[in-house]
Structure formats: C-alpha cells, structure tokens
C-alpha cells in the first residue's frame, strides 16, 4: 500500500518528524551557541581594547609592586590579631585541666599537638603525664591504657593527633574547649609490663670484669677499661689509661632520637674493657623482654656503633641482640621458657666500637 500524495504532509521526506522537544532543544542549542559567539566576540573586543590601552610595562610593574606592598602590609597588620584569636586563653587551659582532673585515671597519658605546646606539661594534672609527640608515633607506650589527645586548633604544626596505635571503640569524641580540642582514644592492645627495668635501680647491682661498681647515691661508678684493651679503644674519646674517667651508670632521662627517654645511661660511652653486667634480682619473668638502646644527644654520622645486649636469667643466656645504635633501636628476647617468679635477670652489655653515652631501657612483657 502506497501513501496518498494528497494527504497533508505527504510530500515530506521520509523519516520521523522531529517532535516538539527536539525542536525546542535545537532552538536552545542554537541560541546558546549564538549567545556564546556574541559574548566571545565582545570579550575579544574588550580584551583587545584593554591590551591597546595597557599601561607601559614599567607602570604595570610599578602597579604590581604597589599592590603587593599594600596587600602584604595589610596582611602584616592583621596577622597579630588573627594569631591572638587562635591562641588558647587561660580559661581554655583551665577547662582542659579540670576535665582531665575529673576524668583521667591511672594508665592515662596526654599527647599534645602541636608538640611545642608544652604549657600542657605545666598546667595539666599529674595523673595524666604528657608524652613527647614522637613517643606516641609508633613507639611502645608501656603502662598506657588510654591516650588523651589535646590539640590547639588552627595552630601551625598541628597534625592529626591520633596516637597511631590500634584503638578500641568507646573512645571519647573530641570536645571543643575554646581554642583547644580534647578527645580520648582507648588503646586496643596496651603494653602493660611486669617491670620497667630502669625503675628497678634500687635493687640493681652493676659489675664489670668481675668487680662490683661502686655505688654513688643513685649512680654506679665502674673502673675505666685498662689501656690497650682493644685496638678500637685508641679511637675513642674514653681511651683508657691513668686518669681516665670512670664509667658511670645511672637511671636518668636522656634525649635520644629527639625525644626524652627514661633509661639507664652508661657514660662516658666507648668500648668497654670488659662486659658491663646489670643484675636485677628477684624479678618475675614473662614471655618477652623488650628493650631499646640509643645514643644520647646528637646522632653520630656514618655507620652507627653497635652494642651487644645479652639477656641472662639465673646465669643462663636466654638470648642476645646486636643493636645498631641508630635512633631509638628496639630489641627483643624470647624468655618464655624462663617465665616464673623470683628470677635473677642480668643484662650484659658489650660495645665493640666507640660510642657516645649509651641509653638503655627494657620491659618485661607478661
């Protein structure tokens, strides 16, 4: 059947006739394109006129210089006011202290961000000691169950105040206390040691080469190594011989790897004439002895010196570690087969090369 040529629309080309929507869309596209073309032409004309009427290069540079001067001047004047608004007021600190006084409990610690905001150490209650920032970033936190995160909002250097340890649900969301923010994380797997060996200094005895070191109040003074003990001795500042300083062992706080470390320090460092033996009697031994060693003060350049730490329990060696003294180096000895109460634990330290003041800690992990 063919189409009737007399019916309306019969002579139109074949195909679907565009509907109302299509026609409107085509119109709209054409309109937009037209408008865009017109506007582009106008903009080109305006830009051309502006370019033709541009100031000479020297004047343009002078204008830029003047605008920069005015802008930086205004910024310089506003800066002290902006900073003053961001700084915490005494009331903010008092609120944080009151909150911690009320809610903190033994096993809590505070991490401050930015790390330089150490007014917290002066103001916050003693029940929640302030940890140095690097210590919270992946270091062991012996004895800490919960970490309070105190941050100064809007301050340069403020980082995500998370403790970087696995946490468990139930943490306190951050509270705003003026310019301060205080939150809490509960550690999922806190390290709760049986003993922190530097704190056992009262029962500690120290010997070297079979001779006991003399106790001098809280420290031990050991005889210096004899001359010519080791060829390496000649390199060291603590070279042995008449008049050499005694080796001093004490429980102290030293800076290692940019953070304060409570440790047993051995000073002056350097090669020991004979192994240094630290005896801790009557300890409960668990499955692990974990420790750290590092050099106090500035880090040495080049290859780090190495110390050997041997762990002896009731006179038998449970294990040993060669610890390169780069940063706050960790070591660990499995003591599972010795786990029991009333054990005598000895750390035997041998250094083969000259070193600075040695800082050493260890915990017994249940």
């Amino acid at each position: 059947m063919s189409r009737d040529p007399h019916t309306p629309g019969g002579e139109r080309p074949r195909g679907r006739r565009p509907g109302l929507v299509g026609a409107a869309a085509r119109e709209a596209v054409a309109e937009v394109a037209d408008t865009t073309r017109t506007r582009l032409a106008r903009a080109r004309a305006a830009a051309g006129a502006a370019w033709r009427g541009r100031p000479p290069l020297a004047r343009a540079l002078a204008l830029a210089f003047a605008v920069g001067t005015l802008g930086l001047g205004a910024n310089g004047l506003a800066w002290p006011l902006l900073l003053a608004r961001r700084l915490p007021r005494p009331l903010d600190w008092a609120a944080a202290a009151a909150l911690l006084e009320r809610d903190a409990r033994p096993g809590d610690a505070v991490v401050v961000s930015p790390a330089w905001a150490e007014r917290a150490r002066e103001i916050l209650p003693a029940i929640a000691p302030v940890l140095h920032r690097p210590r919270a970033a992946g270091d062991d936190l012996p004895g800490v169950r919960r970490v309070w995160l105190l941050s100064l909002r809007g301050m340069p250097g403020r980082r995500d105040a998370g403790s970087s340890h696995a946490t468990r649900p139930g943490a306190l969301p951050a509270l705003r206390l003026g310019s301060l923010e205080l939150g809490r994380e509960d550690l999922a797997d806190p390290l709760l040691p049986i003993a922190f060996l530097p704190d056992r200094v009262d029962s500690l005895s120290v010997s070297t080469g079979g001779a006991d070191c003399e106790r001098d109040r809280a420290a031990f003074l050991c005889p210096p190594p004899p001359a010519g003990v080791d060829a390496a001795v000649r390199e060291g500042p603590a070279a042995a011989g008449p008049g050499a300083a005694p080796v001093r062992v004490e429980r102290t706080l030293r800076e290692v790897d940019g953070a304060p470390r409570a440790c047993l320090s051995v000073e002056p460092g350097g090669p020991l004439g004979a192994p240094l033996v630290l005896d801790f009697p009557g300890l409960t031994v668990g499955r692990l002895l974990r420790g750290h060693a590092g050099l106090a003060g500035e880090a040495p350049r080049g290859e780090p010196p190495v110390v050997r730490v041997s762990v002896q329990i009731d006179g038998e060696e449970a294990g040993a570690a060669e610890v390169p003294l780069r940063g706050w180096a960790a070591f660990q000895v499995d003591t599972t087969r010795f786990a029991a109460r009333g054990r005598d634990v000895s750390l035997v330290i041998t250094s083969a090369r000259p070193a600075g003041a040695l800082c050493l800690d260890a915990v017994i992990v249940p």
């Binding site: 004047r59 003047a66 930086l72 910024n75 900073l83 930015p114 301050m155 250097g157």
Partner: protein, 546 residues
C-alpha cells in the same frame, strides 16, 4: 584655623633638623642607647663580650709589654670555646668603650655602646646615600626600612661584630661612590683613601669583607665598560693626585686604595694574622660547614623579615638588577643611575653571598647577612619612590606616603611585639608557633630565661640553689647584680641544685632532661611563653617551690 598653615610650616621647620642625616643618626643612636641596657643577654652576645675583653686586654698590653702581648695572641683572639683565632677588632673597640663607660656589672649598656655607635654611623650613611639615590624621601625611608624590622634592630642592640661590619661596608660604598663622582680631584682622592681605610677596618672586623673588593672591582669594570662616569680631564696633570691617578694605569683610585691602603691597615689591625698570615687567611676564607638550609641566614632572612619589608627589599633589588642589566642597551643614558643600581646590587648580592656561602662568621640569626641589609634598604627606598611616581604620577607624594605606611607599619608592630627578644619570626613563617613547628631557633641563646626570674624570686624556697641550663653565666651574673635574683638564692652548676631554670631554644634538650632527672621533676613549675611557644621552664625538687 587661619593659624594652622603657619603652625604646620613652623613645625616642619622645627622638624627639619631631625629629618637631616645627622639628626636621624643622633635620633637612632639615642633611641638605641636608651634600649641597649636590656637584660636579655644571649650566649652568643656573652661570647662576643668576653672575646672583646680579651682582645682589648691584648691591645692594652701591647705598647707596655710587646713580648708578653705577642706571646698571648692566639689566646686573646681565640674563637668561642677556645676555637681558632679570628678577627676581633669590633669586639675590642666595644670592650674599650665598655671599659671607659662601665658603671658596674649590672650595666649591660656599656658593653653595647660600641654597637650602638656603629648603628648611628650606619643610620647617617643610610640617610646620606638614601638622599643621593632616591631623593629626600629616600633619606628617611632607607634607615626606617632597616631599623623597623625586629631582627636588624636586635642586631643594632646586641654586642658583636655584625653591626660594625654593616656600617663599614656602607662606609666603603659611600666613599667609593664619592671617589668616582666627587667634584675636585683632591676630594676624590680623599674619598678613595677613606674607602681604603674603611675596607681595611672592615676586614679586621670580619674577614668576609674581601667580597667588598670583588663587588667593587666588578662595578669598576662595568663603569669603565659602559662609561658610567666622566673621564678625568688630563689638564691638571701636575697635581699630586693626578700623578697618582696616572700611575694607576686606569685602575679606579678607590679600588687601588683598597689594595694599597686597605690591606696593610687590615694586617695592622688584625693581630690574629701576625703569627702565620698566609695559612690563617686561607683558614678564615674556608667556607663554614653547610648548615641545614632552614637554619641558614638566607632562610632566616626570608622567614624573619616582615612580609612587606621583604617584598620591598626584593622589589628594589629586582628593579635595580633589571636596570643594571639594561645598561649595555642604554649605553650612556642615565649613566649615574645605572652606576648606582649596579653598585647597590653588587654589594647587596655580595653580602647575601657571604652569608649563603658560609664565609661570614657563624653569628646567630641575621648576623651573617647583616652587611647586605643596608644596601637592600637603599634599593627598597629607591624602588618605593619609583613605584609611587609611576603608579600615581599626579600625587606621587601621597602615593609614597601610603606605600611607606603599608611597608613600615607591620614592621613597627612586629618590633613592639618582639622587643627585647631578638628572635622574632614573621607572618611568613607563621610567627613563633610556625617557626617552632619548623624547628627554627626560638631564641639566640638562653636570653628568654630572663622571663621566669620574677617567679623564681617570688616562689623559690629561702636559700634555694638554682642551676641555669642553656643560659650564659655572664647573663646570670648581670641578673644577680641587677637584683633580679634574690640575694639568698645561690647559683650552682651541679646536681645539688633545688631548682633548674632551663632555656628552650629549639636545639638539643639533653641537658634539660638530665637536669629534670637530677631533680626528679617530671613537670615544670613555671615557664615563659611567646604565643604559647615555650622559651624557658623552671623545674623544682619537691619542697623547693612554694
């Protein structure tokens, strides 16, 4: 109201002497001398004072007992902590002034008067050169651009060689310029001789002044190549000056004077060189070990200078460098201006290079690059004046006033906030909090501990023993002499202390931690803070703090 113009005119006439170079120098000297007695004494400043006293004692003994004096040269001019000997003329002169003016150990102003005198000379020369290169407003702007920033002002108040070095660098530049541009031949020869003597003294103050010779030789070569200065007519060839000039075979008289007069003057004024001149000169010119870039003087310059002033310094330097670079194209046109541009640019870059290459002595903060700052201030003044004229040609004076205020006001506010602490950081570093976050030094060396003395006086138990950690012993003596420490408080330096006052300067804190451990104190009992950044803490043994 009708009398107002007359009153303004009268006030302007009365204020004119203050705006003159000499008036500005007197004003700056008087202001600095007024503030120079502050008790914030850093370790580096205490070391400079001690070094100056040793050097002054050498000069005092030399005429009386030359043998004894010469035997002790190395000890007299040894660096800090018994380091290798080095120049010490500025410190010796300061110590001499201190010996004349001293009124007791409490008066730290006496030890700083030498630096204040150098700062006054610097102001005078800045005003003179500012007028010469940027007109009357330049004479006011150039000193203001230098002194209304916290760090240069602190350098003008602290004993040490850097202020004197900056003044002598500028004196050499001023004399060199006069020797090239001055009218009469005799006048030019006198200026050349002055440039030579000032160069010698600059070398005896800081050995990096040798860069002056390099910068000025370069400028002289440029001046000859591009005919920046008129050649001397040979008519007066019979005079002594003319005969001398003829013998120089084209070498500019001031450069020749720096070689022929300056080097002997430097040798005579530098006893530390006498035992082994060649090896010690080489040792002095060896660059210092590279510091971390953030602790270097250029980084300090960028992060401690208020943004608007830094911008004006950079803009002025860029403008002058661009003009100097165009000199070959514009041969002969604006010869004087091109010469000034090249001269100031060369000297500013020379001063900056000295700090960047480690040729300058290792002073704290901006000290190593301080000689560059007057030249940068001159260039900035020149740039601001030029910008005001180019931006608003109809009202250049109004435009200059607005630009000057925008540049100088933030610096003035920063000065008032920072004083008398020397270690201010600008808004570009984020102030003290930003600088602490970047690990930059919080103070020059222990001077911030002054801020806790009132607490110690109020709350230390009677007869307490106090240990100062990271603080210059000289500063502690001065505080005690001023009565800032209670009479019954005993200063000790061992673990027997009841209290420890510990300065926190951004460096190693091992000594602080040991002091804490000795006191068995985990937390401070008092502290001094700048924008929440701690500068000092007090730790106390149990029962020692009331």
């Amino acid at each position: 109201m009708t009398r107002l113009p007359a009153l303004l005119s009268r006030a302007s006439r009365l204020g004119r002497p203050i705006g003159s170079p000499a008036g500005l120098a007197l004003l700056a000297g008087a202001a600095l001398a007024t503030f120079a007695g502050h008790p914030y004494l850093s370790r580096s400043e205490a070391a400079a004072l001690e070094r100056g006293r040793r050097a002054a004692a050498f000069w005092a003994v030399l005429p009386v007992s030359p043998g004894r004096a010469l035997a002790g040269i190395d000890a007299a001019f040894a660096g800090a902590g018994g380091g290798r000997p080095g120049p010490g003329l500025a410190e010796a002169v300061s110590a001499g002034i201190e010996a004349l003016a001293r009124t007791g150990p409490a008066d730290l102003r006496a030890g700083r008067l030498g630096t204040v005198a150098a700062a006054a000379l610097l102001t005078l020369l800045l005003a003179l050169l500012g007028r010469a290169v940027a007109g009357r407003p330049g004479g006011l702007l150039a000193p203001a651009l230098l002194w209304l920033a916290p760090r240069p002002l602190a350098a003008g108040l602290a004993a040490g060689p850097d202020g004197a070095a900056a003044a002598l660098w500028l004196l050499v530049a001023w004399a060199y310029r006069r020797a090239l541009l001055g009218g009469e031949r005799a006048e030019r020869m006198q200026a050349a001789a002055l440039a030579g003597i000032a160069f010698g003294l600059a070398l005896a103050v800081r050995s990096d002044a040798l860069l002056l010779l390099a910068a000025l030789a370069l400028h002289a070569a440029g001046a000859a190549a591009f005919a920046w200065h008129p050649r001397t007519p040979p008519a007066a060839a019979r005079s002594t000056g003319a005969r001398l000039e003829a013998r120089l075979h084209g070498v500019p008289a001031p450069v020749a004077a720096m070689l022929l007069i300056g080097l002997p003057v430097a040798f005579a004024a530098s006893p530390w060189l006498w035992p082994a001149p060649a090896s010690r000169i080489l040792a002095a010119l060896a660059p210092a070990p590279a510091a971390p870039w953030l602790a270097g003087p250029l980084a300090v310059l960028a992060l401690a200078t208020p943004g608007a002033i830094l911008w004006s310094w950079a803009g002025g330097l860029a403008l002058a460098a661009a003009r100097a670079a165009r000199a070959p194209v514009r041969r002969g046109r604006d010869a004087g201006a091109a010469s000034d541009d090249a001269l100031l640019t060369a000297l500013a870059l020379g001063g900056l290079a000295s700090g960047a290459l480690g040729l300058a002595p290792g002073s704290a903060g901006l000290g190593p690059v301080l000689p560059a700052l007057p030249f940068l201030s001159l260039l900035a003044a020149r740039g601001l004046v030029a910008a005001a004229h180019a931006t608003v040609p109809a009202w250049p004076r109004h435009a200059l006033a607005v630009l000057s205020l925008a540049t100088l006001l933030p610096g003035s506010v920063a000065v008032s906030r920072a004083r008398p602490l020397a270690s201010a950081w600008s808004e570009l570093a984020g102030g003290a909090p930003g600088a602490a976050s970047l690990g930059l030094p919080r103070q020059d060396g222990g001077e911030g501990a002054r801020g806790v003395l009132a607490d110690v006086a109020a709350r230390a138990r009677p007869g307490a023993k106090v240990r100062f950690v990271g603080v210059a012993p000289e500063a502690v003596r001065a505080w005690a002499a001023r009565g800032l420490l209670r009479a019954d408080v005993e200063v000790v330096d061992d673990d027997a202390a009841d209290l420890a006052v510990v300065a926190v300067d951004g460096g190693s804190r091992d000594a602080e931690y040991r002091a804490r451990a000795a006191l068995r104190a985990d937390r401070p009992v008092a502290g001094v803070y700048v924008d929440e950044v701690p500068l000092a803490f007090v730790y106390a043994r149990a029962g020692a703090w009331r």
